[in-house]
Amino acid sequence: MTLLQSAVAQREIHFYAPGLKRFRTGEYGTQDHKAFVSISITGTACALKCDHCEMKVLQGMASLAGGKNLYDLCAGLAEGGARGVLLSGGCNSRGRVPIMAHIDDIRRVRSELGLTIRVHPGLVDEDLAEALGGIDIDGAMVDIIGSNDTIRDVYHMDLDTTEYQSTLERLHRYHVPTVPHIVLGLHYGRILGEEHALEMIAQYPPKLLVLIILMPLYGTAMAQTKPPSTEEIGDFFQLARARMPDTPIALGCARPAGLSKQTIDKMAIDAGFNGIAYPAEGAVAYAEERGLTPQFHDACCGVNW
């Protein structure tokens, strides 16, 4: 039975709190922030310096910079109680995170340490897709961009959307579970290529679709950018659910803070989403009022332990 089938049958909703952020609310309780650790294999380095991030996200991750060995780092984390890791990092100028350089370590982390592994590979070439297909990873998380303008203006790359389609196709062909993300409002707060991204993803059924929302980060070029309106966000939630009725969908980590977060979380529940990361205060109660049974996981969305 798939995650979605199980969730629907049991009227479950899953709430996630990976260790990227320490998380404690009146509804979520105590998070084991060491259970699922995010690692940046490039430290805080990234060639793209995208306007919405400017490497801020990498700063909260455990760093592999400075010649550390990935296996040794993971072994230490496992000793400290980690059950899984997200291998992320900055991109090179072609939008690729240098995962391949660590592929032997990743294989050992899975086979010898038994850690659940998610990767954040950026764009994936043939070699990496094949290599990941040979490792029992839990999922490859890729931001899918559906607008050439966004790729050029926000990511500063001279590429087009077919690169993202090719990434999905390669991962699918090598049977790598995918967890594609769509960032609503990535083009300076405008909804632009999101629907095209959804169409591309729908061609290669993912393990889980994750929707996230532009979260203006202090100190970045988009710090003052307004995210899409809650109406636009709600409409896209409904569109995604209708377009992919058999695919689990989660509302991911990134979304604006504050009152709009509470509204957005409720819209996700109303749209029939299967999971929410870092739920706003009140979201769990709202789900329970609708007859859903909450399940809590200190890990990335949809992780299978």
């Binding site: 952020k21 320490r22 998380f23 404690r24 609310t25 009146g26 909260g60 455990a62 100190g219 504050g258």
Partner: protein, 146 residues
């Protein structure tokens, strides 16, 4: 001033050990804020939600929440009393809490009902330096700062 690895802990303040809140007694009540170590562990605060003034609160009650780059946490009343004031400027610009943790970035004022009783479980005076050193070490070991 107690200083541990560049983290300042003003000696005249009281500290809630678990939540890393500071408390300053004044004519209008007890002003509450986030101490410098917790501030660094939080990262930039992006949103504050605090209950309306006028409420009666018990020590340990949740009176709001903090959402920051690296952490989401409830805001706990460190003493019992009446919530008499909320820092509107900080609500409007949460960055104030990050930039001025012991000054303009205060969070609330509580008129305490039994401060001397509550203060017995707060950190103050001779115990401050030892506690601060242990906490800076613990936060560093956990990877929350540094």
């Amino acid at each position: 001033m107690t200083v541990v690895e560049n983290y300042n802990f003003p000696d005249d303040l009281y500290y809630h050990a678990e939540e890393h809140l500071w408390l300053r007694q004044g004519d209008e009540g007890v002003t509450v804020g986030v101490d410098a170590l917790a501030q660094d562990a939080l990262g930039t605060i992006v949103h504050l939600a605090i209950h309306q003034p006028g409420q009666t609160v018990s020590r340990g009650d949740q009176i709001g929440s903090l959402e920051a780059e690296k952490m989401v946490s409830p805001l706990i009343a460190p003493v019992s009393g009446t919530l008499v004031s909320v820092n509107d400027a900080a609500m409007e610009t949460p960055q104030l809490v990050s930039d001025h943790p012991y000054g303009a970035g205060w969070l609330v004022v509580i008129e305490p009902t039994a401060f001397s009783e509550d203060a017995s479980s707060l950190i103050h005076g001779d115990s401050l330096e030892e506690w601060a050193q242990a906490e800076v070490r613990r936060y560093s070991d956990q990877g929350w700062v540094g």
